[in-house]
């Protein structure tokens, strides 16, 4: 009665609590065994030797498009854990490089800086909050210190505007 391919135990596990009596259970089980027998009658067409050879030839030829047997060790790199770890390491290296390059780069002059100094060969231009506090009436004040020659005395000039840019101020300090 019991079928090794579809045991009564498995049948009971698949269809629990469906039967009022043991007779009903066995009768149902028998019915499903007959069903499986019927299904076994479904033939699977045999694959001819020619078809088999052709499928193998095409599959083997087609594989090389994405897989290189010359470097089978590369497959190791494609393991998920290795790929993940490699990603983390590369990310850290990249972040470190970016952080270093940022630290090394010269900081741009910001108008909010307390005192910014621009230097050229002969002049130094001072701007920023310190200068604004020194001359609160002047708009956009900047002090230009000029020394035409090494030996000459430096000249200090304050540049700025008044009345919202209406009046231009040049004041020798």
């Amino acid at each position: 009665m019991d079928n090794p391919r579809f045991s009564l135990e498995e049948f009971k596990a698949l269809l629990p609590d469906r039967f009022e009596s043991q007779e009903k259970l066995l009768s149902e089980y028998q019915s499903f065994l007959m069903l499986l027998e019927q299904l076994d009658r479904l033939d699977v067409p045999t694959l001819s030797d020619r078809d088999k050879a052709e499928i193998f030839r095409r599959s083997w030829q087609g594989r090389s498009r994405s897989w290189r047997p010359a470097w089978p060790w590369l497959g190791w790199l494609r393991q998920p854990a290795v790929t993940f770890a490699t990603g983390i390491v590369l990310g850290c290296v990249l972040m470190f490089a970016v952080a270093r390059s940022r630290a090394a780069a010269p900081q741009p002059t910001s108008p909010q800086q307390a005192l910014a100094v621009e230097r050229t060969s002969y002049t130094q231009i001072y701007t920023g909050k310190v200068v604004e506090r020194l001359y609160p009436q002047i708009e956009n004040p900047k002090i230009v210190v000029e020394r035409p020659r090494e030996s000459s005395k430096p000249q200090r000039v304050l540049y700025g505007t008044l009345d919202e840019g209406e009046t231009y101020v040049v004041w020798n300090l």
Partner: protein, 190 residues
């Protein structure tokens, strides 16, 4: 066939990973009939089965470098075959604008039916009726059934292939059996 006839599947896989064509041929001939059976029973269309089988082996040879020895080669091949056949079947359904219905009500519909013996009918008519009945079952249910009863695969492995829980596989098989019985009864009484 060749010198690899007595080599284990895993040794063959390692040889294929080194590019050994003879090892590939040996593995192929060892498993081709089972792969073909699985594809045929899931796709159910002989005109599509050959292409499906070829796609399975193409995937196998392309991904052989990623094969890990923790699982058996046969189980891996079964998984590739079943998943490829499911994709093939769904693609062919979409192309022919037919919908694969995974109907949860099928169980309740057939549960009330009286259990009757399916009377054996021989010949092509029987083949056709069984095919029709199988076609009317959802592809997930059919795959679970095929792998369990034709390929004798354990439920956890089937769950891994279908990407679901073991309980869901049981439900698939139960619905498939109930629906098949109801459909075959109807068809054989026609």
């Amino acid at each position: 066939m060749n010198g690899h006839d007595w080599t284990s599947d895993k040794a063959l896989i390692e040889a294929i990973q080194r590019g050994d064509r003879d090892a590939a041929a040996c593995l192929y001939h060892r498993h081709i009939d089972r792969v073909h059976r699985i594809c045929h029973r899931i796709v159910l269309d002989p005109s599509l089965t050959l292409d499906c089988v070829q796609e399975v082996w193409l995937k196998v040879f392309r991904s052989v470098g990623r094969f890990r020895c923790q699982r058996s080669v046969a189980a891996w091949l079964n998984a590739v075959a079943a998943n490829t056949a499911i994709d093939y079947y769904r693609r062919s359904r979409r192309q022919s604008n037919r919908v694969d219905i995974d109907d949860p009500q099928v169980e309740s519909l057939v549960a009330d039916e009286e259990a009757e013996d399916v009377q054996p009918v021989d010949g092509p008519l029987m083949q056709q009726r069984i095919c029709e009945a199988l076609e009317e079952i959802s592809v997930s249910q059919r795959t679970a059934f095929v792998l369990r009863y034709y390929e004798d695969m354990p439920l956890p492995e089937i769950a891994g292939i279908l990407g679901c829980r073991e309980g869901t596989v049981r439900t698939h098989i139960r619905r498939c059996l109930l629906a098949l019985r109801a459909k075959l009864l109807t068809k054989l009484n026609q």
